[in-house]
Protein backbone atom coordinates (compact mmCIF):
# COMPACT_ATOMS: atom_id res chain seq x y z
CA UNK A 1 0.00 0.00 0.00
CA UNK A 2 1.55 3.32 -1.04
CA UNK A 3 1.36 6.49 0.97
CA UNK A 4 -0.64 8.32 -1.67
CA UNK A 5 -3.50 5.83 -1.55
CA UNK A 6 -3.53 6.08 2.22
CA UNK A 7 -3.88 9.85 2.04
CA UNK A 8 -7.00 9.68 -0.13
CA UNK A 9 -10.22 10.79 1.57
CA UNK A 10 -11.65 7.71 3.23
CA UNK A 11 -15.10 6.21 2.89
CA UNK A 12 -17.16 9.04 1.55
CA UNK A 13 -20.62 7.51 1.49
CA UNK A 14 -21.35 8.63 -2.08
CA UNK A 15 -18.61 6.33 -3.34
CA UNK A 16 -19.47 3.42 -1.04
CA UNK A 17 -21.65 1.69 -3.61
CA UNK A 18 -19.57 2.42 -6.69
CA UNK A 19 -18.38 -0.55 -8.73
CA UNK A 20 -15.53 0.13 -11.11
CA UNK A 21 -15.70 -2.30 -14.10
CA UNK A 22 -11.96 -3.02 -14.00
CA UNK A 23 -12.03 -3.67 -10.24
CA UNK A 24 -15.00 -6.00 -10.69
CA UNK A 25 -13.12 -7.84 -13.45
CA UNK A 26 -10.06 -8.36 -11.21
CA UNK A 27 -12.30 -9.59 -8.39
CA UNK A 28 -14.03 -11.97 -10.81
CA UNK A 29 -10.66 -13.36 -11.91
CA UNK A 30 -9.64 -13.87 -8.27
CA UNK A 31 -12.97 -15.58 -7.53
CA UNK A 32 -12.67 -17.95 -10.50
CA UNK A 33 -9.07 -18.89 -9.72
CA UNK A 34 -9.85 -19.46 -6.04
CA UNK A 35 -12.86 -21.63 -6.84
CA UNK A 36 -10.74 -23.64 -9.26
CA UNK A 37 -8.18 -24.30 -6.50
CA UNK A 38 -10.93 -25.32 -4.07
CA UNK A 39 -12.52 -27.86 -6.41
CA UNK A 40 -9.38 -28.88 -8.32
CA UNK A 41 -8.14 -31.60 -5.98
CA UNK A 42 -11.44 -33.45 -5.64
CA UNK A 43 -12.24 -33.02 -9.32
CA UNK A 44 -8.96 -34.68 -10.21
CA UNK A 45 -9.67 -37.56 -7.82
CA UNK A 46 -13.16 -38.02 -9.26
CA UNK A 47 -11.66 -38.55 -12.72
CA UNK A 48 -9.41 -41.41 -11.70
CA UNK A 49 -9.80 -44.75 -9.98
CA UNK A 50 -8.68 -44.18 -6.37
CA UNK A 51 -6.65 -47.28 -5.46
CA UNK A 52 -6.12 -48.49 -1.88
CA UNK A 53 -2.55 -47.28 -2.19
CA UNK A 54 -3.67 -43.76 -3.09
CA UNK A 55 -6.34 -43.92 -0.40
CA UNK A 56 -3.60 -44.56 2.16
CA UNK A 57 -1.83 -41.43 0.96
CA UNK A 58 -5.03 -39.39 1.22
CA UNK A 59 -5.64 -40.69 4.74
CA UNK A 60 -2.53 -38.96 6.08
CA UNK A 61 -3.34 -35.66 4.32
CA UNK A 62 -5.40 -34.00 7.08
CA UNK A 63 -2.68 -34.45 9.71
CA UNK A 64 0.11 -33.66 7.27
CA UNK A 65 -1.57 -30.45 6.08
CA UNK A 66 -2.26 -29.27 9.63
CA UNK A 67 1.32 -29.97 10.71
CA UNK A 68 2.65 -28.21 7.60
CA UNK A 69 0.53 -25.14 8.39
CA UNK A 70 1.43 -25.04 12.07
CA UNK A 71 5.17 -25.74 11.85
CA UNK A 72 6.36 -22.58 10.06
CA UNK A 73 3.62 -20.52 11.73
CA UNK A 74 4.79 -21.44 15.23
CA UNK A 75 8.46 -21.35 14.27
CA UNK A 76 7.97 -17.69 13.32
CA UNK A 77 6.01 -16.93 16.51
CA UNK A 78 7.31 -16.37 20.05
CA UNK A 79 6.97 -17.73 23.60
CA UNK A 80 3.48 -16.23 24.04
CA UNK A 81 2.11 -18.19 21.07
CA UNK A 82 3.99 -21.36 22.04
CA UNK A 83 2.60 -21.22 25.56
CA UNK A 84 -0.92 -20.57 24.28
CA UNK A 85 -0.60 -23.45 21.80
CA UNK A 86 0.23 -25.78 24.70
CA UNK A 87 -2.85 -24.48 26.55
CA UNK A 88 -5.04 -25.22 23.52
CA UNK A 89 -3.57 -28.70 23.04
CA UNK A 90 -4.06 -29.63 26.69
CA UNK A 91 -7.66 -28.35 26.81
CA UNK A 92 -8.52 -30.00 23.48
CA UNK A 93 -6.98 -33.28 24.58
CA UNK A 94 -8.59 -33.26 28.03
CA UNK A 95 -12.04 -31.90 27.27
CA UNK A 96 -12.46 -32.60 23.57
CA UNK A 97 -14.34 -29.32 23.44
CA UNK A 98 -13.24 -27.06 20.60
CA UNK A 99 -14.96 -23.94 21.92
CA UNK A 100 -13.34 -24.28 25.34
CA UNK A 101 -9.96 -24.83 23.69
CA UNK A 102 -10.35 -21.73 21.51
CA UNK A 103 -11.46 -19.47 24.33
CA UNK A 104 -8.65 -20.76 26.55
CA UNK A 105 -6.11 -20.26 23.78
CA UNK A 106 -7.15 -16.72 22.94
CA UNK A 107 -7.22 -15.68 26.60
CA UNK A 108 -3.82 -17.30 27.11
CA UNK A 109 -2.26 -15.57 24.11
CA UNK A 110 -3.54 -12.15 25.21
CA UNK A 111 -2.29 -12.79 28.75
CA UNK A 112 1.11 -14.17 27.67
CA UNK A 113 1.65 -11.30 25.23
CA UNK A 114 1.14 -8.95 28.12
CA UNK A 115 3.64 -10.88 30.23
CA UNK A 116 6.44 -11.55 27.76
Amino acid sequence: MSDETKAMPLSSFDGALSLDPLVVAVIAAMAIITYATKVGGLWLLSRIEVSDRLEAGLAVLPGAIVVAILGPELAAAGPAEWGAAVVVAVIAWRSNNILLALVGGVLAVVLFRGLF
Binding site: M1, S2, T5, L10, S11, G15, L17, S18, L19, V23, V24, V26, I27, A28, M30, A31, I33, T34, Y35, T37, V39, G41, L42, L45, S46, V50, D52, E55, G57, L58, A59, V60, L61, G63, A64, I65, V66, V67, A68, I69, G71, P72, A75, A77, E81, A85, V88, A89, I91, A92, N96, I98, L99, A101, L102, V103, G105, V106, V110, R113
Partner: protein, 263 residues
Protein backbone atom coordinates in the same frame (compact mmCIF):
# COMPACT_ATOMS: atom_id res chain seq x y z
CA UNK B 1 -8.87 -40.87 22.08
CA UNK B 2 -11.40 -43.10 23.80
CA UNK B 3 -13.44 -39.97 24.43
CA UNK B 4 -13.68 -39.31 20.74
CA UNK B 5 -14.89 -42.80 20.04
CA UNK B 6 -17.51 -42.78 22.74
CA UNK B 7 -18.84 -39.48 21.62
CA UNK B 8 -18.88 -40.57 18.03
CA UNK B 9 -20.93 -43.59 19.01
CA UNK B 10 -23.47 -41.63 20.99
CA UNK B 11 -23.83 -39.11 18.20
CA UNK B 12 -24.32 -41.83 15.68
CA UNK B 13 -27.08 -43.49 17.61
CA UNK B 14 -28.74 -40.12 18.06
CA UNK B 15 -28.81 -39.43 14.36
CA UNK B 16 -30.09 -42.77 13.22
CA UNK B 17 -29.65 -46.30 14.43
CA UNK B 18 -27.25 -47.16 11.62
CA UNK B 19 -27.23 -50.84 10.75
CA UNK B 20 -23.81 -51.74 12.04
CA UNK B 21 -23.16 -54.24 9.31
CA UNK B 22 -20.94 -51.70 7.61
CA UNK B 23 -18.33 -51.81 10.36
CA UNK B 24 -16.38 -54.62 8.77
CA UNK B 25 -16.74 -53.24 5.27
CA UNK B 26 -13.87 -50.78 5.40
CA UNK B 27 -10.68 -51.17 7.35
CA UNK B 28 -8.88 -47.98 6.59
CA UNK B 29 -5.34 -47.20 7.50
CA UNK B 30 -6.31 -44.38 9.86
CA UNK B 31 -7.66 -46.39 12.76
CA UNK B 32 -10.44 -44.04 13.81
CA UNK B 33 -12.31 -43.95 10.57
CA UNK B 34 -13.21 -47.62 10.71
CA UNK B 35 -16.90 -48.32 10.36
CA UNK B 36 -18.38 -45.21 8.80
CA UNK B 37 -22.09 -44.86 8.86
CA UNK B 38 -23.22 -43.83 5.39
CA UNK B 39 -22.39 -40.21 4.55
CA UNK B 40 -25.57 -38.24 4.00
CA UNK B 41 -26.36 -34.66 3.10
CA UNK B 42 -29.05 -33.36 5.41
CA UNK B 43 -30.48 -30.13 6.71
CA UNK B 44 -29.49 -31.34 10.18
CA UNK B 45 -25.88 -31.53 9.00
CA UNK B 46 -26.03 -27.96 7.71
CA UNK B 47 -27.43 -26.79 11.02
CA UNK B 48 -24.86 -28.56 13.18
CA UNK B 49 -22.05 -27.35 10.92
CA UNK B 50 -23.33 -23.80 11.15
CA UNK B 51 -23.71 -23.80 14.94
CA UNK B 52 -20.34 -25.48 15.55
CA UNK B 53 -18.63 -22.90 13.39
CA UNK B 54 -20.23 -19.72 14.78
CA UNK B 55 -17.64 -19.16 17.55
CA UNK B 56 -14.85 -19.66 15.02
CA UNK B 57 -16.63 -17.39 12.54
CA UNK B 58 -16.67 -14.63 15.16
CA UNK B 59 -12.89 -14.85 15.17
CA UNK B 60 -12.88 -14.76 11.38
CA UNK B 61 -14.94 -11.57 11.61
CA UNK B 62 -11.98 -9.94 13.40
CA UNK B 63 -10.07 -10.49 10.20
CA UNK B 64 -12.98 -9.41 8.04
CA UNK B 65 -12.94 -6.03 9.78
CA UNK B 66 -9.20 -5.73 9.22
CA UNK B 67 -9.67 -6.70 5.58
CA UNK B 68 -12.44 -4.10 5.15
CA UNK B 69 -10.26 -1.38 6.66
CA UNK B 70 -7.27 -2.21 4.46
CA UNK B 71 -9.41 -2.59 1.32
CA UNK B 72 -10.93 0.79 2.00
CA UNK B 73 -7.54 2.40 2.49
CA UNK B 74 -6.34 0.78 -0.73
CA UNK B 75 -9.13 2.61 -2.58
CA UNK B 76 -11.81 -0.07 -2.95
CA UNK B 77 -15.38 1.03 -2.36
CA UNK B 78 -17.50 -0.68 0.30
CA UNK B 79 -19.39 -2.49 -2.46
CA UNK B 80 -16.18 -3.69 -4.11
CA UNK B 81 -14.72 -4.96 -0.83
CA UNK B 82 -17.98 -6.77 -0.05
CA UNK B 83 -18.10 -8.25 -3.55
CA UNK B 84 -14.58 -9.62 -3.13
CA UNK B 85 -15.39 -11.19 0.25
CA UNK B 86 -18.63 -12.68 -1.06
CA UNK B 87 -17.15 -14.24 -4.21
CA UNK B 88 -13.53 -15.08 -3.37
CA UNK B 89 -14.07 -16.30 0.23
CA UNK B 90 -10.37 -16.82 0.98
CA UNK B 91 -9.06 -14.48 3.66
CA UNK B 92 -5.29 -14.68 3.25
CA UNK B 93 -5.31 -14.18 -0.51
CA UNK B 94 -7.76 -11.27 -0.23
CA UNK B 95 -5.60 -9.51 2.36
CA UNK B 96 -2.54 -9.95 0.17
CA UNK B 97 -4.43 -8.72 -2.91
CA UNK B 98 -5.46 -5.47 -1.26
CA UNK B 99 -1.93 -5.03 0.06
CA UNK B 100 -0.72 -5.26 -3.54
CA UNK B 101 -3.49 -2.97 -4.80
CA UNK B 102 -2.22 0.23 -6.49
CA UNK B 103 -3.02 2.54 -9.39
CA UNK B 104 -2.83 1.07 -12.02
CA UNK B 105 -3.94 -2.28 -10.58
CA UNK B 106 -1.10 -4.84 -10.83
CA UNK B 107 -3.43 -7.45 -12.34
CA UNK B 108 -0.76 -10.06 -13.11
CA UNK B 109 0.74 -9.97 -9.62
CA UNK B 110 -2.67 -10.16 -7.95
CA UNK B 111 -3.90 -13.05 -10.09
CA UNK B 112 -0.69 -15.06 -9.71
CA UNK B 113 -0.47 -14.48 -5.95
CA UNK B 114 -4.09 -15.55 -5.55
CA UNK B 115 -3.30 -18.82 -7.29
CA UNK B 116 -0.10 -19.41 -5.31
CA UNK B 117 -1.70 -18.66 -1.95
CA UNK B 118 -4.82 -20.73 -2.60
CA UNK B 119 -3.35 -23.80 -4.26
CA UNK B 120 -3.32 -25.46 -0.84
CA UNK B 121 -7.11 -25.70 -1.09
CA UNK B 122 -6.75 -28.36 -3.78
CA UNK B 123 -4.96 -30.57 -1.30
CA UNK B 124 -7.44 -29.79 1.47
CA UNK B 125 -10.30 -30.67 -0.86
CA UNK B 126 -8.56 -33.92 -1.80
CA UNK B 127 -8.38 -34.83 1.89
CA UNK B 128 -12.21 -34.81 1.97
CA UNK B 129 -12.41 -37.52 -0.70
CA UNK B 130 -13.18 -40.51 1.58
CA UNK B 131 -16.44 -38.82 2.59
CA UNK B 132 -17.26 -36.55 -0.34
CA UNK B 133 -17.05 -39.38 -2.84
CA UNK B 134 -20.48 -40.40 -1.48
CA UNK B 135 -22.10 -37.05 -2.32
CA UNK B 136 -23.55 -35.75 -5.56
CA UNK B 137 -21.47 -33.37 -7.73
CA UNK B 138 -23.88 -30.54 -6.94
CA UNK B 139 -23.42 -31.05 -3.18
CA UNK B 140 -19.65 -31.35 -3.50
CA UNK B 141 -19.03 -28.40 -5.81
CA UNK B 142 -21.51 -26.20 -3.96
CA UNK B 143 -19.97 -26.91 -0.55
CA UNK B 144 -16.41 -26.39 -1.78
CA UNK B 145 -17.15 -22.80 -2.77
CA UNK B 146 -17.47 -22.03 0.94
CA UNK B 147 -14.37 -23.97 2.04
CA UNK B 148 -11.91 -21.91 4.10
CA UNK B 149 -9.10 -23.05 6.41
CA UNK B 150 -11.20 -22.85 9.54
CA UNK B 151 -14.27 -24.74 8.42
CA UNK B 152 -12.18 -27.31 6.58
CA UNK B 153 -10.50 -28.11 9.91
CA UNK B 154 -13.83 -28.35 11.75
CA UNK B 155 -15.29 -30.51 8.98
CA UNK B 156 -12.40 -32.99 9.00
CA UNK B 157 -12.77 -33.16 12.76
CA UNK B 158 -16.48 -33.87 12.55
CA UNK B 159 -16.35 -36.40 9.72
CA UNK B 160 -13.57 -38.37 11.42
CA UNK B 161 -15.85 -39.07 14.37
CA UNK B 162 -18.01 -41.03 11.95
CA UNK B 163 -20.86 -38.53 12.07
CA UNK B 164 -21.61 -39.03 8.38
CA UNK B 165 -22.62 -35.39 8.12
CA UNK B 166 -21.73 -34.63 4.51
CA UNK B 167 -23.39 -31.20 4.77
CA UNK B 168 -21.13 -30.05 7.63
CA UNK B 169 -18.78 -28.18 5.28
CA UNK B 170 -21.72 -26.31 3.75
CA UNK B 171 -23.22 -25.37 7.12
CA UNK B 172 -19.93 -24.25 8.62
CA UNK B 173 -19.12 -22.45 5.35
CA UNK B 174 -22.37 -20.49 5.55
CA UNK B 175 -21.35 -19.32 9.04
CA UNK B 176 -17.89 -18.26 7.82
CA UNK B 177 -19.30 -16.56 4.71
CA UNK B 178 -21.94 -14.58 6.60
CA UNK B 179 -19.55 -13.29 9.27
CA UNK B 180 -16.83 -12.65 6.68
CA UNK B 181 -19.02 -10.54 4.38
CA UNK B 182 -20.78 -8.59 7.14
CA UNK B 183 -17.50 -7.82 8.94
CA UNK B 184 -15.92 -6.72 5.65
CA UNK B 185 -18.70 -4.18 5.20
CA UNK B 186 -18.32 -2.98 8.80
CA UNK B 187 -14.56 -2.64 8.39
CA UNK B 188 -14.85 -0.80 5.09
CA UNK B 189 -17.42 1.61 6.56
CA UNK B 190 -15.56 2.16 9.82
CA UNK B 191 -12.26 2.87 8.10
CA UNK B 192 -9.45 3.11 10.59
CA UNK B 193 -11.64 3.37 13.69
CA UNK B 194 -11.10 -0.19 14.81
CA UNK B 195 -7.54 -1.18 15.57
CA UNK B 196 -5.38 -4.14 14.97
CA UNK B 197 -7.00 -7.59 15.43
CA UNK B 198 -3.86 -8.95 17.12
CA UNK B 199 -4.73 -6.82 20.14
CA UNK B 200 -7.66 -9.10 20.95
CA UNK B 201 -5.87 -12.30 20.11
CA UNK B 202 -8.01 -12.88 17.00
CA UNK B 203 -4.91 -13.68 15.01
CA UNK B 204 -4.38 -16.70 17.24
CA UNK B 205 -7.76 -18.32 16.55
CA UNK B 206 -6.67 -19.98 13.32
CA UNK B 207 -3.58 -21.42 15.03
CA UNK B 208 -5.75 -22.56 17.94
CA UNK B 209 -8.21 -24.36 15.64
CA UNK B 210 -5.33 -26.24 14.04
CA UNK B 211 -3.62 -27.08 17.34
CA UNK B 212 -6.90 -28.52 18.64
CA UNK B 213 -7.23 -30.53 15.44
CA UNK B 214 -3.67 -31.82 15.69
CA UNK B 215 -4.38 -33.06 19.22
CA UNK B 216 -7.25 -35.13 17.81
CA UNK B 217 -5.60 -36.29 14.60
CA UNK B 218 -2.71 -37.84 16.49
CA UNK B 219 -3.17 -41.54 15.98
CA UNK B 220 -0.15 -43.04 17.68
CA UNK B 221 3.00 -44.31 16.08
CA UNK B 222 1.56 -44.64 12.56
CA UNK B 223 1.17 -40.87 12.25
CA UNK B 224 4.66 -40.06 13.50
CA UNK B 225 6.68 -40.61 10.33
CA UNK B 226 4.34 -38.81 7.87
CA UNK B 227 4.06 -35.90 10.30
CA UNK B 228 7.80 -35.57 10.73
CA UNK B 229 8.25 -35.69 6.96
CA UNK B 230 5.54 -33.06 6.46
CA UNK B 231 6.94 -30.82 9.19
CA UNK B 232 10.52 -31.04 7.91
CA UNK B 233 9.48 -30.41 4.32
CA UNK B 234 7.28 -27.47 5.33
CA UNK B 235 10.00 -25.82 7.42
CA UNK B 236 12.56 -26.27 4.66
CA UNK B 237 10.20 -24.97 1.96
CA UNK B 238 9.17 -22.00 4.09
CA UNK B 239 12.81 -20.97 4.40
CA UNK B 240 13.38 -21.31 0.64
CA UNK B 241 10.18 -20.07 -1.01
CA UNK B 242 7.93 -17.09 -0.31
CA UNK B 243 4.17 -17.42 0.11
CA UNK B 244 2.42 -20.58 1.20
CA UNK B 245 3.99 -23.24 -0.97
CA UNK B 246 5.21 -24.92 2.20
CA UNK B 247 1.71 -26.21 3.03
CA UNK B 248 1.43 -27.89 -0.34
CA UNK B 249 4.99 -29.23 -0.13
CA UNK B 250 4.53 -30.72 3.35
CA UNK B 251 1.21 -32.38 2.50
CA UNK B 252 2.43 -33.83 -0.80
CA UNK B 253 5.65 -35.14 0.75
CA UNK B 254 3.79 -37.02 3.50
CA UNK B 255 1.15 -38.43 1.14
CA UNK B 256 3.82 -39.55 -1.33
CA UNK B 257 5.68 -41.32 1.47
CA UNK B 258 2.49 -43.20 2.43
CA UNK B 259 1.78 -44.18 -1.17
CA UNK B 260 5.35 -45.51 -1.54
CA UNK B 261 5.43 -47.52 1.67
CA UNK B 262 1.90 -48.90 1.30
CA UNK B 263 1.83 -52.68 1.26
Amino acid sequence: MTDTNERADSRRSEAEPAPDGCSEESTRSSGQSVGFPPVSFSREGVKIGFLTCVPVAIGVAGYGIAFGVIANQAGLSVAEAALMSATVVAGASQLIAVELWADPIPIGAIVFTTLAVNLRYSLMGAALEPWFSHLSPKQVYGSLFLMADENWALTIRDLRTGSGRGAFLLGSGIAIWTFWVVSTVLGALAGGVIGDPTRYGFDFILVAVFVALVAELWDGRSTLLPWVVSLGTALLTASLLPGRWYILAGGIAAATLEVIRYE
